[in-house]
């Protein structure tokens, strides 16, 4: 079991560029969550999917951020026109149907917007 896999580990973009972050949940897990971690704001919930369907995106900034889960093996978080304040570690987590209380986090993608 390789755990939750996130790619890339680090991404540097220029202001105004697009960034796409990838997440491969643990095989068989039914729920996928995206969180963002910064020194200032801490860990913040962004969005989640259950059985590939988007359930709640209440934590997502309404503009420029979007998330998809086209199949059960991966999810993407896309940030358009990146801004310096988007710089953060973006964490993906998954949980199983049998034990939905335990989130398994990936190592995160550190996004740096210059």
């Amino acid at each position: 079991n390789a755990g939750v896999i996130q790619t890339p580990r680090h991404k540097v973009t220029g202001k105004g560029q697009e960034a796409t972050l990838w997440c491969e949940p643990i095989s068989g897990h039914s729920a996928v969550f995206w969180y963002r971690q910064t020194i200032v704001q801490g860990l913040e919930f962004l969005t989640y999917f259950r059985n590939q369907a988007p359930i709640d995106d209440s934590g997502m900034p309404k503009e420029r951020f979007s998330a998809q889960m086209p199949n059960q093996s991966h999810s993407t978080l896309k940030i358009q026109s990146t801004q310096p304040q988007d710089s953060a570690v973006y964490l993906c987590a998954s949980s199983s149907r049998d034990n939905n209380e335990r989130l398994f986090f990936g190592h995160g993608t550190k996004l740096s917007v210059l």
């Binding site: 801490g42 860990l43 989640y48 709640d56 964490l91 209380e101 986090f105 190592h107």
Partner: protein, 113 residues
């Protein structure tokens, strides 16, 4: 308004001492309270969790004490070890989606040998 608050922001104890990390919350609909720990350059991992039907949850050296009336909980780490040095996050969620967590800002624990 911060829904989940933690104190202290940082804590230093000596090996063998008991570390006490505090947490409080605002939302009465919260009914699942996990603690996650995070080591430097690692991702958060579930340490221990409690539901309000209990006022205490123990797992080895780690114990959660829960006070529903005051909306407070605390994590006690007995016989602290240098390997316990990490940032501890208190989190909370409502019943419907336990994975949709509201995290506190964390307590950074340093245990000296």
């Amino acid at each position: 308004q911060q829904q989940v608050r933690q104190s202290p922001q940082s804590l230093t104890v000596w090996e063998g001492e008991t570390a006490i990390l505090n947490c409080s919350y605002e939302d009465s609909t919260f009914d699942y309270f996990p603690w996650y720990w995070q080591f430097p350059r690692e991702s958060p991992a579930l340490l221990i969790a409690i539901r309000p039907v209990s006022n205490k949850k123990e797992d080895g050296r780690f114990t959660i004490f829960f006070n529903k009336r005051e909306k407070k909980l605390s994590l006690h780490i007995t016989d602290s070890q240098p390997g316990d040095s990490a940032t501890y996050f208190c989190a909370a969620s409502a019943a419907q989606v336990v994975g949709q967590l509201t995290f506190g800002r964390g307590t950074r624990l340093q245990v000296y040998a």
